[in-house]
């Protein structure tokens, strides 16, 4: 079955890619399977300088999900371009760089840095990380700020820009419209929702950062609702994510308005999650009378 989708900058042989931060730079998962099976990979966040991240514990289990407060730990954009990108470029798949920052200048710096390599096919502009104090989330909650950073990164970069939206906003549609207006080539949604868990014997937060981003199955209905709403008002493509672990989940995201999907937390439970989904997708689409991934996109009822 034809699973191909074409998006700005990306020709994906299938619509499945690991989500940023849940796959590192692919090295560990390449011990489990051939990464060329993936449609694309979204790399861990890149910042201007190396970041060590938050104190530990950084994760906690929740009902149907998990909290994380990694704090954008990464080796810095230069080392990502120097060592991680060339290794990923050995595989037959698209590479998307996740661009993070705590100021407009940093976003521009990181975005520009990726102009130096021609192995990266698109940027995912992360204005939605809830885990670092000065970290981008203010750009993701105020439509005017989101516009500003999107326009600046579009100008700095030669690559298509997918803006990664935060679900922690009053109106997701307003945010999506704002970044579309500012020139975004696509959207990526959703990032995690802020949550908290306490340790009963002490009454203190389980995560050292106190709060963490909720991901996994628990957030899937929120992601579906937000994509469904946004799809009715915005025409740029959407990379959907939030709790995907099966081919049925993928179909639901496509029906809701996504054009491709990313798989995050599910990789932790099943390191083969992405390839298992890719293997199951044709049968699932057939079961629901679709002939291809593009067929789902063409026939969904929610398109603008």
């Amino acid at each position: 079955m034809n699973l191909e989708v074409k998006l700005p900058g990306l020709t994906l042989k299938n619509p499945i890619m690991p989500a940023s931060g849940c796959f590192g730079f692919g090295k560990e998962y390449s011990d489990y399977y051939d990464l060329s099976r993936l449609g694309a990979v979204i790399m861990k966040a890149a910042t201007q300088f190396e970041r060590f991240g938050n104190p530990t514990p950084r994760v906690a289990e929740t009902s149907s999900g998990m909290l994380n407060a990694i704090g954008l730990q990464n080796p810095g954009v230069d080392r990502i371009i120097g060592t991680e990108v060339p290794r990923l470029a050995e595989y037959d798949m698209s590479i998307i760089a996740n661009v993070a920052g705590s100021s407009l200048e940093e976003y521009i710096f990181v975005a520009k840095a990726f102009n130096r390599t021609n192995e990266v096919h698109a940027l995912e502009l992360n204005i939605s990380c809830p885990n670092v104090k000065e970290g981008g989330i203010q750009f993701g909650t105020d439509p005017e700020m989101a516009k500003k950073v999107t326009a600046a990164v579009k100008e700095a970069s030669q690559l298509p820009v997918y803006v990664k939206l935060s679900p922690i906003v009053t109106s997701i549609v307003e945010m999506a419209k704002a970044v579309e207006e500012a020139g975004a080539d696509g959207l990526s949604m959703i990032n995690t929702l802020t949550g908290m868990r306490l340790h009963l014997p002490t009454g203190k937060p389980l995560i050292a950062n106190q709060t963490g981003g909720l991901s996994g199955a628990a957030i899937k209905p929120i992601a579906i609702r937000m994509i469904y709403e946004v799809r009715q008002h915005v025409s740029i493509p959407i990379i959907g994510m939030g709790g995907i672990s099966t081919a049925e989940d993928v179909l639901e995201f496509l029906q809701a308005g996504a054009d491709a999907v990313a798989v995050g937390t599910a990789n932790f439970q099943n390191p083969f999650a992405c390839v298992d989904i890719i293997d199951a997708l044709p049968e699932t689409l057939t079961k629901y009378q679709y002939t291809s991934v593009q067929d789902v996109i063409d026939r969904r009822s929610v398109n603008v």
Binding site: D31, F52, T56, M66, N68, G216, N267, P271
Partner: protein, 251 residues
């Protein structure tokens, strides 16, 4: 390529208070693994896998034995498994203790605290095959929690310490260090406060410690279980460790 295994449960036994010994069938892992490595077990109904150390293997039988303490939902569910059922496992994960670091004729101190005892037992069994002298100090909360004392006694001069003095020596593992005599190096696994006390007390002696932290992926990708190193860098407990040189990490 690494695999995901369905490990068949061969036996489940309650060997001390809240402590389960479980034997699993998986010949590949039993041949491949080194002491200190762990299995990452999927418990249905939970998002994250549970890391549990390998306590011993029987290559002939193709079995891998784990010991775990019932502390929360995941370990409670695991404790209810019956022989014949299967557990979804990844592993062996991480870098373990290197038996080759110990030379013939050396005197080696092994320190295990509570549920940190199992990987130390796996190491002790392998070291016992070499011409080395083993001393084991095993710390438990109280008498009800003590396990594997007899197993250790077969291969090491063994001291048991309980926090409340209900069995063996009273106090912490470090309290008997003055009795064990000189040794060339040490290996330890147990709760962080214990490891802090040990590494402080034995700071001039080469040692290896096995550490715990809450993990996400368990393979080195998600950066959840990192640890600062003395050279202002970091290590990932799941994939660089869980065993580290005591001199290398900041506890």
């Amino acid at each position: 390529m690494k695999k995901r295994y369905e490990m068949k449960v061969l036996s489940v036994e309650n060997i001390a208070k809240e402590t389960i010994e479980m034997k699993l069938y998986q010949p590949e892992i039993s041949k491949e693994t080194v002491p200190g490595q762990f299995l990452h077990l999927l418990v249905p109904g939970f998002t994250l896998r549970r890391p549990i150390s390998i306590a011993k293997v029987d290559k002939q039988e193709g079995s891998v034995t784990i010991l775990f303490k019932i502390v929360g939902g995941g370990t409670s569910a695991l404790a209810a498994y019956q022989p014949g059922m299967t557990i979804d496992a990844l592993g062996p994960n991480g870098n373990g203790f290197s038996v080759d670091d110990v030379k013939e004729g050396e005197r080696v101190l092994l320190v295990g605290g509570g549920i940190g005892v199992p990987p130390i037992y796996h190491l002790a069994k392998q070291l016992a095959e070499k011409n080395v002298e083993l001393i084991a100090v095993l710390g438990f909360q109280s008498k009800d929690y003590v396990f594997y004392e007899a197993e250790f006694q077969k291969i090491a001069k063994t001291y048991v310490v309980t926090n409340d003095g209900s069995y063996g020596h009273q106090g912490f593992v470090t309290h008997v260090f003055s009795e064990v005599g000189a040794f060339d190096q040490y290996f330890s696994c147990g709760p962080l406060p214990m490891l802090r006390a040990i590494t402080k007390e034995l700071k001039d002696i080469p040692g290896k410690v096995s550490l715990e932290e809450r993990m996400g992926c368990g393979v080195g990708a998600c950066m959840a279980c990192v640890l600062p190193t003395v050279d202002n860098n970091y290590k990932k407990i799941c994939s660089d460790g869980p065993v580290f040189s005591a001199q290398e990490v900041v506890l």
